[in-house]
Structure formats: structure tokens, C-alpha cells
């Protein structure tokens, strides 16, 4: 997730030539010929932490455009002070997360062609986080949670450049590394979205996935250094709050199977440690042997 200091966060755009917003972003010009164009009805949330509401706009749409194009056109033509965070416009930076018709999505990856032309399209900021202004929210909660996850612990006796891993051992973790940190999963997770009071105790799907990634890492030496990630997932990061309703998986723009491949395996690993006497006994016997 980019920060507000990124070049893509634009609010208070100056007057400029049409076709380019004040930040230098290209706004798709209306095609001279070919391609269809129509006017779409948008409702965009405007305001800040003090208050705000949905404002109506009619904006031109051209064939092949995505919602972010329309927001840029809106910024360039009707609402120059509209704040929106964006960066790569290619679904890889995770900056332009918003809620489009109530569904958490990346604006740059939501094609206008998926909507009916007569439909009113509502764009709001992420509703799980404090709003800063217009479509920009304070996602600091996620950085706090990121810091709470102990990082990779290097194995003893191996220096940089000496790590050797088999592909089958790293395959699982690689899926989780596709995460672009758009925080849509964090936004849609009802544990914190609907219950602000759970934020201190619950890391959210993105960071539980990080715990799973490290616990499955073939060279992570957490256990040898006294850190049991399986237990801490439950005790420190609030894994037990997850009731695996799969919304994180549904909204992930990278198609990561967060629930099936990270959260449920992590729950099973935590069950090994905390709720399964047979596994506990087996481990005891193995250690004795």
C-alpha cells in the first residue's frame, strides 16, 4: 500500500489542461472516432472525519475504461479537490482500494463494462478504516499489525547466499507472497469491520497469512529460537476470531486462496498445539525417542 506521500495521492488538483490532472496523470481523452461513449451516473463519497456524504456526478465514460479512469476524469473536470489514492493503475500497487457499489475492490481493476449503463455507481472509501478525506482512508491499523508479526528468523550457521530450498517447500509461501497489500481483505473482514473493539486483538487475514507464510517457510528458525508461531497465531494475533467465512478470499484481487491455504491450515496447526492431545502425546514420545 502506498502512502499519502506517493505521487499517486491527489487532492486539490490545480486547474490544468483537460486530459491531464494536476498530478500529471493521463486522463483518457475522449476518442475522436470509434469506441463507444456514454454518460454514467456516479455517487462519490465526499467529506472527511468530521462528516460528509454521497455526491452525485454525471461523468463521461469511454469504451475500455475502468472506475479509476472515471474518478480521474471527475477530478479533472468537475471535482478538482477530490482526494483519491492511486499509483500504478495496473493492479499491482494496491493503492486504489475503495468500495464500489458496496464491494471492496481496486478501482483500477474494475472495468466499467461490468456495470449496466443505466446503473448508478457508488464509490466510497474503505469503511473499516478511519477516513482522511474523500476516498482516502488511514490504513495505519495495518502497519501496526504488520509490526506485531515477528519477522523471518534466519537459520543458525547459514550466511547470506547459502540458503538452499526445494521448490516444493516454498510453493505454499510463494502464493502468499503475491499479496499487494491493498488491504481489501482487512477491510471486508467483519471481525474488525463490524467490531472496532476487536482491532487490538485481531491481526486480520493479511497478517495471519503472513504468520502462516513464515510458519511454512522451510528455513524459518522461529521454533529453534523459542518462538512458536502456531501458538502465537492463536494467542497473540487472534486467529480464533476468524470464523472462516471467506470474504477475504472473495475480495482478494490477486486471487490468493487466503482462507483455504493460509487461515485454515494455520487453524489446524494451532489445533495441533493447543487442542489435540494425540499430537501432543506423539510429539512428546518422538522427542523422548
Amino acid at each position: 500500500m502506498s502512502t499519502a506521500a506517493d505521487s499517486g495521492t491527489r487532492a486539490g488538483a490545480k486547474d490544468g489542461p483537460e486530459g491531464e490532472d494536476a498530478g500529471g496523470a493521463k486522463v483518457n481523452p475522449a476518442p475522436e472516432s470509434g469506441g463507444e461513449r456514454y454518460d454514467a451516473h456516479f455517487r462519490v463519497w465526499r467529506g472527511d472525519a468530521e462528516g460528509g456524504g454521497l455526491r452525485d456526478f454525471t461523468v463521461e465514460v469511454n469504451e475500455g475504461e475502468v472506475v479509476l479512469d472515471i474518478i480521474h476524469r471527475l477530478q479533472a473536470t468537475q471535482a478538482p479537490d477530490l482526494a483519491v489514492r492511486w499509483n500504478c493503475k495496473a493492479g499491482k500497487c494496491g493503492s486504489c482500494s475503495a468500495e464500489i457499489n458496496g464491494r471492496p475492490r481496486l478501482m483500477c481493476m474494475t472495468r466499467m463494462s461490468v456495470f449496466d449503463r443505466a446503473e448508478t455507481i457508488t464509490v466510497t472509501p474503505l469503511r473499516a478504516f478511519p477516513v482522511v478525506r474523500d476516498l482516502v482512508t488511514d490504513v495505519g491499523f495495518n502497519y501496526t499489525k504488520a509490526r506485531e508479526v515477528p519477522s523471518f528468523i534466519p537459520p543458525q550457521g547459514l550466511g547470506p547466499g547459502e540458503y538452499r530450498m526445494q521448490q516444493e517447500d516454498v510453493g505454499r509461501s510463494q502464493e502468499f507472497r503475491k499479496c499487494i497489500e491493498c488491504f481489501l481483505c482487512q477491510d471486508t473482514c467483519h471481525v474488525v469491520r463490524d467490531h472496532e473493539e476487536n482491532k487490538p486483538a485481531f491481526a486480520g487475514p493479511r497478517f495471519l497469512m503472513r504468520v502462516a507464510e513464515l510458519d511454512m517457510h522451510p528455513l524459518d528458525a522461529a521454533e529453534e529460537s523459542g518462538l512458536d508461531r502456531k501458538t502465537s497465531a492463536q494467542d497473540t494475533h487472534g486467529l480464533g476470531y476468524c470464523n472462516i467465512t471467506k470474504c477475504c478470499t472473495e475480495v482478494c484481487p490477486e486471487g490468493i486462496k487466503i482462507t483455504d491455504n493460509a487461515l485454515i491450515p494455520l487453524k489446524e496447526r494451532a489445533a495441533d498445539r493447543k487442542y489435540d492431545p494425540l499430537v501432543w502425546l506423539g510429539n512428546k514420545i518422538r522427542r523422548r525417542a
Binding site: G140, G240, T245, D260
Partner: protein
């Protein structure tokens, strides 16, 4: 800067959901325009239909055996008051004192397996408990502790129900084999019921083996797949099945009810089993 990466002073937890004070001031609990209610409503109706049907059949204590078929709801039959089934799964573990329907003894295991199943949890948390009803649709509850406390913390024993479900599936496989007899217990025959049972047992096994706990037990708990090539391969196979866990959960739920209903029709004399050979 609000979006900076510096730690912020934690002002302590504040109550409230999507309408919490610092969030965008939007009064509506959700702004979804699609038919988000369709999936949870369909799920709730489907599960409710099965609960009603299976409750009736489990308590009926009648019409569950029509040689050579025994209803999967009554197998294995662990009480003395079971219908006599030659070569069938009669094991009078519970003796004569058990006067209720014998289905009630055994159904606790498949019921527990499905109740604690990761797919069904999603289904009933959404469909019945609205927690949440759908993604980005505000839930109606003021407090939420998830699976951190009793009774929902018991969901963690899913793997034990998986072990029991494997044993039940083995018995149902034996029942299917017994279906290759005719009504006089002669081997080498097959009827429409045999086909119904075959489809059912394939779906039961596929659902049981696609379980997330099974995936964990066969290989998921390993850190180094490269040191356990056989388990890695098994994990891969179970993973492929696991991707269809939801579909298999529904298919096997329907097939087990249909298999039971087929036996009910035969046992109640509604029609006779068409013999294929």
C-alpha cells in the same frame, strides 16, 4: 501524516461498526446493489430442508431396511432394537436398554463432522447467524468473539470427527458392497438401489477426503515436503479435492438423503427395486 508508517498512539478500543465515529459517515449498513442475500438465503433453506428431513427420518425408527439395502442414516446399527440385516452392519454395542431410534446413536458422528466442517461453518455462520450475512454487509450483532470461546472453540476438534467419519464411510462402503446381492441375499446381483448407493459412497468418500483436516493430516502439517515425497503427493491430491469441498459437501448431503429416501420407498412398499441383473 495519517497514512504514514509511524506507530500511532492507541486511544483504546472504541465501540461501533461501519458507522463508527472516525469512519466515512455513511448511514447505510451496506451499499451493495447485487442480490447478496440470495446465497445465504439459499444456503439456509437447503440446510433447513435437510435438517427437517433427517430429523424425521432419524426419529422415525422405521422403514430403514429393505434387503439388501440399509439406509445410511441407520448404519452401522449399534443397538439391539435394530432391524435384522443379514451380513449387515448390526453391532449391538448398546444392548437392549436403548429404546430410541438406533439412528440417533450413529448420526452424532456424521452430524458432528459436518457441523464442525470448515465449509459448513461458513455456510451456517452466514446463512443462520448472519455473521456476516454477506461480504461487506454489516452484521446485526453488537459483540463478536468468533471461535475464541466456548462453545465455538470446540470447532477445533473437527479432526476427531474426521477420524470418526472415515470409520462411518468404511461401514457405508461395506453396505454398498452388500448391495450387490438380491433380496434373498444371493450375491452377483445389482439393482437401481446399488447404483444409488454407489454414487452416494463415492460422494461420501470424496467429501470426507477433501476435508481440510484430512489435508492437514496427510501432509499440510509438514514444514519440508521435499523430505516426505509420498505425503507431499497425497497432500496434492487431497488439495485438488479440497478445492471442490463446498460442491462435495452439498452433493454428498443430497446423495445421502436420496439414498435414505430410496430405502424408505422400498421399505414402505411404494415400489420394488428394479433389478439390473
Amino acid at each position: 501524516m495519517a497514512t504514514g508508517t509511524e506507530p500511532q498512539q492507541n486511544a483504546g478500543p472504541r465501540p461501533g461498526g461501519v458507522r463508527e465515529g472516525s469512519r466515512a459517515a455513511i448511514a447505510a449498513p451496506h451499499l451493495r446493489t447485487d442480490r447478496w442475500w440470495l446465497a445465504p438465503a439459499g444456503t439456509a433453506l437447503g440446510l433447513l430442508a435437510f435438517v427437517v428431513y433427517s430429523t424425521w427420518r432419524a426419529f422415525a425408527n422405521a422403514d430403514y431396511y429393505a434387503a439388501p439395502y440399509v439406509s445410511p442414516f441407520y448404519s452401522p446399527c449399534l443397538a439391539d432394537n435394530c432391524h435384522e440385516m443379514r451380513g449387515g452392519p448390526n453391532i449391538g454395542l448398546f444392548g437392549e436398554w436403548w429404546g430410541l431410534s438406533p439412528a440417533l446413536i450413529i448420526l452424532i458422528f456424521p452430524l458432528g463432522f459436518r457441523l464442525t466442517c470448515y465449509y459448513y461453518r461458513k455456510a451456517y455462520y452466514r446463512g443462520f447467524w448472519a455473521s456476516p450475512p454477506a461480504c461487506a454487509v454489516a452484521e446485526p450483532h453488537k459483540k463478536y468473539t468468533g471461535e475464541t470461546r466456548f462453545p465455538l472453540i470446540l470447532q477445533n476438534i473437527h479432526r476427531y470427527f474426521f477420524y470418526a467419519a472415515v470409520l462411518v464411510a468404511l461401514v457405508l462402503s461395506w453396505d454398498t458392497l452388500l448391495g450387490f446381492r438380491d433380496a434373498h441375499y444371493e450375491w452377483g446381483h445389482m439393482g437401481l438401489g446399488t447404483l444409488v448407493f454407489l454414487v452416494n459412497i463415492v460422494l461420501i468418500w470424496a467429501y470426507t477426503l477433501s476435508c481440510h483436516s484430512c489435508r492437514h493430516i496427510v501432509g499440510g502439517r509438514l514444514k519440508h515436503f521435499s523430505r516426505h515425497p509420498v505425503r507431499y503427493r497425497l497432500w496434492g491430491w487431497v488439495g485438488k479435492l479440497n478445492a471442490r469441498h463446498m460442491q462435495l459437501a452439498w452433493a454428498s448431503l443430497i446423495s445421502v438423503a436420496l439414498a435414505d429416501f430410496y430405502v424408505y420407498l422400498l421399505a414402505s412398499g411404494a415400489f420394488t427395486d428394479p433389478r439390473l441383473f
